[in-house]
């Protein structure tokens, strides 16, 4: 796609853009500009991944991005029982043991690595503090945690499926949660 070669940028270098040394309406303006740049970057990444994944006449679905994973918000992972996660590694060396934390609403999930093998997972409850911070913007009850491995300057796609029944619970690693009063 020609769009892959467009120069997208979301960088603001003036100290006003990052440090709070600006009036509030200027802060709002910087936030808007950074958001516009980030969305443009996401479009470029989406086109690039699609061009790599395309097989024959089958177009892969457009990539979606989640900017609020730090407060457990991601519509795609919350609302779908089956979804894929594509992880692109910009480093010129393999990355192993990088952990993803995805907001979900199910109790148990199976995760398949690019080679089809199951991946160890752990489920954690979304904390009350996170729920308070995100307000009405999301409603995930849990976070799905699993490690990913990505080759240098490459991408890996993991397939995630909400588990039904007991068969897939073997991947649900045991954990102990202790509430201390």
């Amino acid at each position: 796609s020609s769009q892959t070669f467009r120069e997208a940028m979301a960088v603001a270098q003036h100290h006003d853009a990052v440090s709070g040394t600006e009036k509030q309406h200027v802060a709002n303006d910087y936030a808007m500009r950074l958001h516009a740049g980030a969305v443009e970057c996401q479009e470029v990444v989406s086109h690039a991944l699609a061009s790599k994944m395309k097989k024959g006449s089958v177009d892969p679905p457009a990539a979606q991005f989640c900017s609020y994973l730090n407060i457990s918000i991601c519509a795609t992972t919350e609302e779908n029982d089956r979804f894929s996660v594509t992880v692109y590694n910009p480093l010129a060396r393999q990355v192993t043991g990088h952990y993803l934390r995805l907001p979900v609403n199910g109790q148990s999930y199976t995760v398949s690595a690019p080679n089809g093998k199951p991946v160890q997972t752990q489920m954690l409850k979304v904390t009350a503090q996170t729920a308070k911070v995100r307000g009405p913007r999301g409603n995930a009850t849990s976070e799905l945690v699993f490690p990913v491995t990505v080759e240098a300057l490459g991408f890996s796609t993991y397939l995630i499926t909400k588990a039904t029944g007991r068969a897939s619970r073997s991947l649900f690693m045991p954990q102990v949660e202790t509430n201390v009063v």
């Binding site: 440090s19 709070g20 040394t21 600006e22 009036k23 509030q24 802060a27 996401q42 990444v45 989406s46 991944l49 892969p60 679905p61 457009a62 990539a63 979606q64 991005f65 989640c66 994973l69 730090n70 991601c74 795609t76 779908n80 089956r82 894929s84 996660v85 594509t86 992880v87 692109y88 910009p90 480093l91 990355v95 043991g97 990088h98 952990y99 398949s112 089809g116 997972t121 752990q122 954690l124 904390t127 503090q129 996170t130 911070v133 307000g135 945690v145 699993f146 490690p147 990913v148 990505v150 796609t157 397939l159 995630i160 690693m173 045991p174 954990q175 102990v176 949660e177 202790t178 201390v180």
Partner: protein, 297 residues
């Protein structure tokens, strides 16, 4: 691996560990107490907690300089602790991939400390805000690590995105300093990392954003994570740094600190390696999927 307090009389310390690090939390306060590098057998006695500096509103005879958007100027050299009654630990989660200790310091300061399997660092995810404003006191919130290291009043920052520079308390390399601001005058920009070290140990903290940081006494390391104040500092912005945020009661900031305890000889390579992984982290995208694994392949 985890000892759970049973009653006030039988409380024991809480520990989480992976194959590289062990973190021990005090039974009474719930604060981080000891870090052990299980591979190198390095042990650091360190307390980590949140404090706040009360912002100056302009009480200096020579100037009426207030703390504001441009200026960090606390009205005292000692920050006030942010504490709760009893232990700050509210929850401990153990599992094979990640172990977590959840801490609540106040209504507006919480933290989750994590150890992921296989990782050589501890992750401290702090959530600060909305900073209370009804008392009218400007607040500059810091996280502080107080350790038993003898650091000779020196610390190191990667200021300005350039090489790591040695900083010495109340000292400038190229001129004789008349220090009039004992706290702010020793604060330096931290773009990605700050560390302190002695002969055998180095405590390195990587940040996920630029922050101000310092070491105001031996073995101590602090980073400012959030601030809110009610006076303009007269440097041109014409507004106090008092953002109300989307919900109207103030901004909530959430970020991460990555903590490493290694020997000074090993640390340089390790924190650079980790820095690359953090600052050029894998980019994640999602798609709803209707394919089986085989069809996808």
């Amino acid at each position: 691996s985890m000892m759970i307090p049973q009653s006030p009389m039988m409380r024991e310390d809480t520990e989480i560990h992976n194959e590289h690090l062990s973190l021990i939390f005090d039974s009474t306060t719930g604060l981080l107490k000891t870090i052990t590098n299980l591979k190198t057998k390095l042990i650091l006695n360190v307390q980590q907690a949140f404090h706040w500096y009360n912002s100056s509103t302009g009480n200096n005879d020579d100037s009426t300089q207030k703390s504001g958007a441009y200026i960090f100027r606390p009205n005292d050299t000692e920050p006030l602790p942010i504490t709760t009654k009893g232990s700050v630990i509210t929850k401990v989660v153990t599992g094979e991939l990640v172990q977590e200790v959840h801490q609540v310091f106040s209504d507006w300061v919480t933290q989750v400390i994590r150890l992921y399997a296989g990782q050589r660092y501890a992750e401290l995810e702090w959530t600060v805000g909305p900073i209370p404003f009804k008392d009218g006191l400007g607040k500059e919130i810091i996280t502080r690590f107080d350790s038993d290291m003898q650091t000779d009043n020196k610390f190191y920052t990667d200021s300005n995105g350039r090489e790591i520079l040695e900083r010495q308390l109340n000292h400038r390399l190229t001129w004789k300093l008349n220090q009039t601001e004992p706290v702010a005058g020793n604060y330096y920009p931290v773009n990605s990392r700050i560390f302190i070290k002695d002969k055998s140990r180095q405590l390195t903290v990587l940040t996920d954003r630029s922050q101000g940081g310092s070491s105001l006494k031996n073995g101590s390391l602090e980073l400012m994570v959030h601030r809110r104040m009610f006076y303009d500092d007269n440097f041109g912005v014409g507004e106090a740094l008092n953002e109300s945020g989307v919900f109207g009661d103030g901004l909530v900031a959430r970020g991460k600190h990555y903590l490493m305890l290694e020997s000074p000889a090993d640390s340089s390579q390790l924190h650079r390696n980790l820095g690359e992984q953090l600052y050029m982290a894998p980019a994640v995208s999602f798609t709803p999927n209707t394919f089986s694994t085989q069809d996808w392949s």
